[in-house]
Each structure stands twice: as structure tokens, then as C-alpha cells.
């Protein structure tokens, strides 16, 4: 430790002590000398933030295209006539809609390309699954001219040159093809520069989406895009049959390092994960899009079986007061809130984005290990992501307000 300063700092200016005394008057003078020009309330950086990440986007359905039985593509244009927010091929938007008394959200990958957003529209492609409460609503209600609201583009299921291999094997099933359709278009129009080999699983030939479009993209991209259709319930020439296995991946993958991107229903993901393990790829070369809420929670590893089939009491505290609602053990806390008509924040519905972060005040929830996406400190301080937390006792939570419709 150095001793007390025994040298006197030599004067810097002529009248240092006066300079000290003048600190305040000098600052007053400087501030007074400032201009009265209107302050810029929106510098370009902040303006750009608003354009790239709008709090909400309101669209009008311009066109509805039947892609296959039970599958429709909706072409969306901005209600205000502007361009939708730019995005990176592979990203999704969270659609918000009022269904009955409930405000619901659903994440949908954009099936349009970033270039098409420049041209003034997005498309999302929706499959009406047998159990899909929301998709049934969409099929019934989304008609030309109807309005709908979405979030800004979200998610990180996109190609990153510094991180990913030059060749991406896209593995998808059903409507999981949508982000790959966007990626393929971006590769074909030159917005993205990598090789994309899509292994696309469908039940039957008639279920294949964007078949003609993909064929065209293969041509236009000069070999950078390749699509291999894999049929599980039909045998046909020119198609692979069965499921997407390690052997099938090896058959189409190049020798050099390649990245695997997966997007599909949980059941496909569970199967494909086991196959990919056989390839012994480093984790950095395997990326997956989120598949939404876990179905059949009682089958998840570690689930406390005695909680199953029960209906618990969920006390919801918010700035506006307190409510007690039912929460069924087989549905997430978020779904319980939505069923009760309580507006709750949510986006990815897969435990990852953290937008639904809420304080668990009392009670216990089950969170499947492989979708635990919470921050370490949130675990420490008792926060949950209601979208992937399942009640296993009566609960009390503090719920933040949601974006209003």
C-alpha cells in the first residue's frame, strides 16, 4: 500500500483552486449554453429497433391458398399498408387471437422468404391437426379480409455462416417443412449462401407440401437446394420410404462437416434424435426448432404419476387483483390461464424465449428436463415459464401483464 501522498501535485492550470470553485458555475454556464432545438426523441438506432422488433404487427389476410387437405397458406399484408418487419429465413411469428373468452398465442414459422417480406407480405402455413384447438379455429375463421395480429419475427432457427457447416441437412415432417421452405427460397434468391439438403418426411405423396415449388427451387438454385421426400405410409418410385434414419442421412450427406437442422412434431423429433446420435456429430452441428407444448406429459421422464388426472387450484395474482382458477395436471399452467380467460404473456410456447416468466409463489410444478430453458437465477429465485410448467399441486403465481390485443 502506497503511503500518503507526500508530494504536492504541481499546479496544472494557473489557478487550480479557482478552477475547483468554478466547477459548478462552469457547468451551469455550459448547460445554459445548450441549444433550445427540439430533442430528437427517436434516433436512427431506436427507430431501427422499432422497425426490426415491432411490439405487434397487424395484418389483413390477402389470400388463402389450399396446399393439401387440411393445410392452408395465408398470405398476410400489413393493415397499415407498410412492409412487415424483416426477418431471417427460419424465424417464426407468434400469432395472437381471441378465441371465445381466451386470448391465445401460437408460434408459426414464416413460410415466406425475407425477400417476400420486402415485397410486402408474409405467408404462414397452417395444418389442421386433429387435436389442434387453435388450428381448427384458424381453418374456420381465417378468411380473406380478416385481420390478425402477430409479434415481431422471433427465434434463432436460422443459418449462421460463422457457426454452421456449409451444408445443412434439413430434417422435417409435416408442417415442419415451413421454415425450410423459407430457407430454400432464401438460398435460391441468393440471400443466404449455403447448401441445403432437405429430408422431408410425409405419410403419403398427397401430403407433401410445396412439391412443385421445391422442384423449381432446386432448378433455380443450381443444385444448392435439394429436396428428398420420404414417405412412411406409401411406396412410390422416386421417393425414399420409411422414416428418416441415420442411414438415410448418411446417404445424402456430404463427407465434409455438415449441420443438421430439425423441425417437426415431437414424435418425429424423438425418433430422429435417436438416429442422429448414431452419427456421433458434435452438438454444434445439430440444431432443432422448437416443437411447442409437450403432449402426454405423464409419459415424460420423471413425471410424478400420482399427480396425473387431477385438477388443481391456481391462484393468479396480478396488478389488477387476484383470481382463482382450475388447472388440469395434463396441461401447462399457461393453458390453464388461457382456458380461464386470463391474458398471459407468451410467445414460443416451448419453454425457451422466457417471455412468460412468472413468479411461482406457492406450490410445485413439473418441468420436463429436456425443455428446461430457464435462466439459472430464475431457478434459484423461483420463477417458472408457465408454457412448459405442469401443475402437480395447488399453485399460486404472480402473473405479469400481457400485450393487449
Amino acid at each position: 500500500m502506497a503511503g500518503k501522498l507526500n508530494v504536492k501535485i504541481k499546479p496544472i492550470g494557473l489557478l487550480d483552486m479557482i478552477a475547483f470553485k468554478n466547477l459548478v458555475p462552469n457547468r451551469v454556464k455550459k448547460l445554459e449554453a445548450g441549444s433550445l432545438a427540439t430533442l430528437n426523441s427517436l434516433p436512427n438506432v431506436n427507430k431501427l429497433a422499432g422497425e426490426l422488433h415491432p411490439k405487434k404487427q397487424v395484418f389483413v389476410i390477402k389470400e388463402v391458398i389450399d396446399e393439401a387437405p387440411n393445410v392452408k397458406t395465408f398470405k398476410l399484408v400489413k393493415k397499415d399498408g407498410g412492409k412487415p418487419a424483416t426477418f431471417r429465413a427460419g424465424q417464426y411469428v407468434s400469432v395472437r387471437a381471441k378465441v371465445g373468452e381466451s386470448v391465445l398465442t401460437r408460434p408459426y414459422s414464416l413460410s415466406s422468404s425475407p425477400k417476400e417480406a420486402q415485397e410486402g407480405y408474409y405467408t404462414i402455413t397452417v395444418k389442421n391437426s386433429s387435436k389442434g384447438f387453435f388450428s381448427a379455429y384458424v381453418m374456420e375463421n381465417w378468411k380473406e379480409g380478416e385481420e390478425l395480429e402477430t409479434s415481431a419475427p422471433e427465434g434463432s432457427f436460422y443459418y449462421e455462416a460463422i457457426r454452421d457447416a456449409k451444408t445443412v441437412i434439413g430434417i422435417c415432417g409435416g408442417s415442419g417443412v415451413t421454415p425450410f421452405y423459407s430457407l430454400a427460397k432464401a438460398v435460391a434468391d441468393g440471400a443466404e449462401d449455403f447448401n441445403l439438403i432437405i429430408l422431408y418426411g410425409s405419410c403419403k405423396e398427397g401430403d407433401i407440401l410445396f412439391k412443385k415449388q421445391f422442384a423449381e427451387l432446386e432448378k433455380v438454385s443450381k443444385g444448392k437446394v435439394k429436396v428428398v421426400n420420404v414417405l412412411s405410409e406409401e411406396r412410390k418410385e422416386c421417393y425414399e420410404e420409411g422414416f428418416i434414419t441415420a442411414d438415410l442421412i448418411k446417404k445424402y450427406a456430404p463427407k465434409a462437416p455438415y449441420s443438421i437442422f430439425i423441425c417437426g412434431p415431437q414424435i418425429m423429433y424423438d425418433f430422429v434424435s435417436k438416429e442422429i446420435k448414431k452419427l456421433k456429430l458434435a452438438p454444434k452441428f445439430v440444431r432443432r426448432e422448437l416443437f411447442g407444448e409437450i403432449k402426454m406429459i405423464d409419459k415424460a421422464q420423471g413425471y410424478p404419476q400420482d399427480a396425473f388426472g387431477k385438477v388443481f387450484k391456481l391462484t393468479v395474482k396480478s396488478f389488477d387483483g387476484e383470481k382463482v382458477v382450475d388447472a388440469s395436471s395434463d396441461e401447462s399452467v399457461l393453458v390453464a390461464l388461457e382456458r380461464a380467460g386470463i391474458a398471459a404473456p407468451s410467445k414460443c410456447r416451448s419453454g425457451v424465449c422466457g417471455y412468460c416468466r412468472s413468479k411461482l409463489l406457492v406450490g410445485e410444478v413439473f418441468i420436463p428436463e429436456d425443455i428446461e430453458g430457464r435462466r439459472a437465477a430464475d431457478i434459484k429465485f423461483g420463477y417458472i415459464h408457465p408454457c412448459c410448467s405442469y401443475p402437480i399441486s395447488d399453485l399460486s403465481i404472480e402473473l405479469p401483464p400481457s400485450q393487449t390485443l
Binding site: 503511503g3 500518503k4 487550480d16 460463422i162 437465477a377 429465485f381 420463477y383
Partner: protein
């Protein structure tokens, strides 16, 4: 929704470091406190985000002024008094600095601890001991003087000041360079001492000496610390305390308007159209944001508020590349926690390069695992590379070319790091994310993406701001916390500002102001 208008003793706008602390201290002091935050998380820049297997630290490199439990600094004591539940980890060394500029190449590692720092300086610059000791002793006097001023709540005894802190009085009006030159500090010693300049964000020719001296010495005396679970742990711990003290927090809600009547605060209006009554506001939103768009009616903005904002310069915007790597720090050869990599020792030149998105990019880089080995899964590590952009550097960027422009800088920074250290990291990148000034603007509503506050030129530095705290209250009941406020920027300063402002608000209320 309840139709009753709600009333609070104090409304805090923004849950950044200053706002969180202000709300915790106000609530602890018994005020009916409401903290309103536009985002869904507490902390502002002090947060974390998850990508794949990694949880990243967005902004904190090293917390100054905390210290170990047996040698707590100001912030350490503040957190202790609040009873914050945070696990702290020490940073091993102060910094490694690499100068890549032709003819002035340097690669040095400086330790914490006054003796260790002086010894190491002597090792790099033989014969420098006496000068470095003198410099550090001056810094000590500055720190003691600030402590005295703070303890005397601004009412200082002139005689004590003259007798005990003559060099403080003498140096306070000057820049780092002016004081170093007056002391005839050798050039290389200056270059090594000045490494921390980027934490203040303006060249040593303009940056006030007092604030620099206090920061340097606090680092040397107390070392630097980080929370185990990224800075989100500090923010969540503060959030927990606010709740414990019966304060309320309203996330996902933006204060649209501050209602003013007869030059007095009377309430706020939120983006959900709700009116909340209060006579006291602590704004973590900057004066620029508040006076440009939040005061209702707009004619209630005092002209001096506009003049003051225009007279000051908003500090640089932040830019950070985050990498999740699939090799350990040891495997990659990363031995140091903190790397300052500059293309020159001339800080004016460095600052000038911050005004463009060019090829010369300064970086302050961190390998988190060196101080926090458990921060990522086994076999992996986390790095973050920070740079700064001043003024209009991002003005020509559009929504269409944003990703391209953003990534170009990231690639450049990672390249620069590899070249200047000889450490290869590119092949090990498993997760890659970038936060640009636009990102900070998006999540935190940061004005022009600034992660600092108003620039600390000598005329607008710590002392004159502290001495003018009451004069700077332009609308009755409206005080500011955070990096743009009177304690200047940086994590520890923002926490300290929150505490002081909350206590002043308590005093205002007691005195019926």
C-alpha cells in the same frame, strides 16, 4: 380492470440497475413503491439470455467496488445492507492489454492489489516505481475526498478539504491526461494505466481525472467480482428484495407520460392507458427520453432541461458478440479473463474509430469460464467481445442490411482477437449471438443504443454533477437514477445512484417537499 386510480408514494420508471436499487431502497424505507418496466425482465442491461446449452452474460465484465466479504466496497456494503442473495466470484487479474498498433505493440497482464499493480508496472517499465506510487497515492487521496464529500452529504468543511485533500481540489477540474502530464508520468506507464479508459468511453484527453482515479483505485483495492449466475442473478435478487419489502413491480408496461402540474409531478400514464398517481418519480429512463417525449403537457418541460440535454453528449452505444464454444478455455488456450485489445495507445484515435463501423475496432473481451468455471457445460466455454460505437456510427444502417452490417463487425472482431492473441476459436463456435446498439435500444429503450450515460468530460463529471444534485431537479418530484444520472455510468455507479436518489426521495417526502 379496476377503475380506481392507484396511488403510490413513489413510482420508479425502469427496472435497470439504478431503478431496481431505487425501488428496493424506497420500499425498504417504507415508501409505497411501484416499479414499472417495459420489458418482461428486471435488470435492463443486467440480465442474461439462453442459447442452446449456454446462458450468456449480456453486459457485465466485472463489478467494481464490491470486494470480498472482508473488504467490501461501496456497492458491496449497499448489497449487504439490502441483504441480497447473490453468489460472488472474484476475477483473477485486472486486465490483459494488447496494443496492436505498428511500432507500439504491447501485450501485458496487470494484477489487482496496489502493491502487485505497482510491482508489475515496475516489471514492465523498469524505474517507474516512484511515479506509479505517486500516482496511486493521488488516486487514494481522490477516493478519500469523495468518501468525505459523500459522508458530509455535500456540506463539506472548506478547511478540511484544503488541509486533507489539496491535491484532490487541484486535480478535480482536469482530464486524465492533464493530470498525468503534470505528474510527468512516463509514456508507457500512462499507456498501461489508461487501459480502463474504455469503461468510461471517452478519450483520456477529455475524460475527467477524478472519476478515472476513483475507478482505478476501487478496482485495485477491492478487486472485481461477478455473480455466479450472470448479472440476472443480481437483478433477480433485487427484484426479490423489492417484493420482500412490499414494493410492487409491473412488467411489460411502459410509462408513456409523466403528468406535471405547476411544475410538480402528479402521476404517470401507462401504455395500457392506466393513470397512476404519485408526487415522486425516480426515472431510470434518461433525461433525453423523458424531456423529449414523456412530459405531459409538453409545455411543462423547462427550457433548461432541453438546453442541458443538448449541451451534453450521449455516451457510446454497445456492441457485443457472444460465443458459446465447444472446447474448454484450457483447450483453447484462454488463460486470461479480461482482454483489452486496442489498435493504438492514442485514445483520441480509438474514440474516433468508434464513430465509424470501420476496420479499426477496439475490443474488451471476456472469457467467462476463467473466473466462473461452472458457467457452461463440461467441455465448453463462453466468450463475449464488446466494442463501442459513438454518435452516428449506425445511422446509415437500414432494416434490410442490418443483419449483414451487424455480422460483418462480429466476424472482424473475432478475427482481430485470433490474430492478436494467436488463439483459434472460430472452429469451436457452437452458439453465436450479437447485440448491437439496436438490440440495447430494443430491449432497454437505450437512447441511441447507449450503454453508458452522458460523457464524463471534466465540466460535467462526478463532482459538479454531485454538487448540483438539487439544482438538477428541474420538475419537483422528478429525480433520475442510472448511468445518465449524477454518479455517471457503470454498474456500480448506477446501483449507487439508485440508493442515493431513493434516500433523497424519502427525505423529500418527510420534509413535505
Amino acid at each position: 380492470m379496476s377503475q380506481n386510480i392507484k396511488n403510490y408514494d413513489v413510482v420508479v420508471i425502469g427496472a435497470g440497475n439504478g431503478g431496481l436499487t431505487a425501488a428496493a431502497v424506497a420500499a425498504k424505507s417504507g415508501l409505497k413503491t411501484l416499479l414499472i418496466e417495459q420489458h418482461n425482465l428486471p435488470g435492463g442491461f443486467a440480465t442474461s439470455f439462453v442459447r442452446g446449452r449456454f446462458e450468456f452474460e449480456p453486459s457485465l465484465h466485472e463489478l467494481c467496488d464490491h470486494g470480498p466479504s472482508d473488504n467490501l466496497g461501496g456497492v458491496g456494503n449497499l448489497f449487504k445492507n439490502l441483504g441480497l442473495d447473490v453468489e460472488w466470484l472474484p476475477i483473477p487479474d485486472a486486465y490483459r492489454m494488447i496494443i496492436t498498433g505498428k511500432g507500439e505493440e504491447m501485450d501485458i497482464v496487470m494484477p489487482f492489489g496496489i502493491k502487485e499493480y505497482i510491482d508489475k508496472m515496475e516489471y514492465y517499465v523498469p524505474g517507474s516505481r516512484a511515479k506509479t506510487e505517486e500516482f496511486i497515492a493521488l488516486c487514494q487521496e481522490i477516493l478519500d475526498a469523495i468518501g468525505y464529500i459523500a459522508a458530509s452529504k455535500g456540506v463539506t468543511d472548506k478547511k478540511v478539504m484544503m488541509k486533507q485533500f489539496p491535491n484532490f481540489l487541484r486535480t478535480a477540474p482536469y482530464s486524465i491526461e492533464q493530470v498525468e502530464n503534470a505528474m510527468k508520468i512516463p509514456q508507457k506507464v500512462k499507456d498501461i494505466l489508461n487501459a480502463y479508459w474504455c469503461y468510461l468511453g471517452i478519450p483520456v484527453t477529455r475524460c475527467n481525472f477524478t472519476v478515472f482515479a476513483a475507478m482505478l483505485l476501487k478496482y485495485l483495492i477491492h478487486g472485481a467480482y461477478i455473480p455466479k449466475h450472470r448479472s440476472h442473478e443480481i437483478s433477480s435478487a433485487l427484484e426479490a428484495k423489492i417484493r420482500e419489502f412490499k414494493g410492487e413491480i409491473l412488467f411489460n408496461t411502459k410509462v408513456k407520460k409523466i403528468l406535471v402540474e405547476d411544475n410538480k409531478v402528479i402521476g404517470v400514464i401507462t401504455d395500457k392507458g392506466e393513470r397512476i398517481n404519485t408526487a415522486h418519480i425516480i426515472s431510470n429512463a434518461t433525461a433525453h427520453t423523458v424531456y423529449s417525449s414523456m412530459i405531459e403537457p409538453a409545455c411543462a418541460v423547462p427550457p433548461i432541461a432541453i438546453k442541458s440535454a443538448n449541451a451534453r453528449r450521449v455516451g457510446p452505444g454497445g456492441y457485443v458478440v457472444y460465443l458459446g464454444l465447444n472446447k474448454t478455455a484450457e483447450e483453447l488456450g484462454l488463460k486470461d479473463y479480461s482482454y483489452f485489445i486496442y489498435h493504438s495507445t492514442d485514445t483520441e484515435k480509438l474514440y474516433d474509430s468508434m464513430k465509424r463501423r470501420g476496420n479499426d475496432i477496439i475490443q474488451a473481451t471476456v472469457c467467462l469460464n476463467v473466473a466462473n468455471p461452472g458457467c457452461s457445460p463440461e467441455g465448453t466455454s463462453i466468450m463475449s467481445f464488446t466494442t463501442l460505437f459513438a454518435e452516428n456510427a449506425w445511422d446509415d444502417v437500414t432494416a434490410e442490411n442490418y443483419v449483414k452490417e451487424k455480422n460483418k463487425i462480429a466476424y472482424r472482431i473475432v478475427d482481430d482477437f485470433e490474430k492478436s492473441t494467436g488463439i483459434k476459436i472460430k472452429d469451436s463456435i457452437e452458439e453465436f449471438e450479437v447485440a448491437s446498439p439496436v438490440t440495447f435500444a430494443n430491449y432497454c429503450n437505450a437512447y441511441n443504443g447507449s450503454i453508458y450515460g452522458y460523457e464524463p468530460d471534466s465540466w460535467d463529471s462526478l463532482l459538479p454533477r454531485m454538487m448540483m444534485m438539487e439544482q438538477d431537479v428541474l420538475i419537483k418530484g422528478l429525480r433520475f437514477s442510472g448511468g445518465f444520472a449524477f454518479r455517471l455510468h457503470g454498474y456500480s455507479s448506477s446501483y449507487a445512484s439508485g440508493e442515493t436518489v431513493a434516500l433523497l426521495t424519502v427525505k423529500d417526502i418527510k420534509e413535505g417537499k
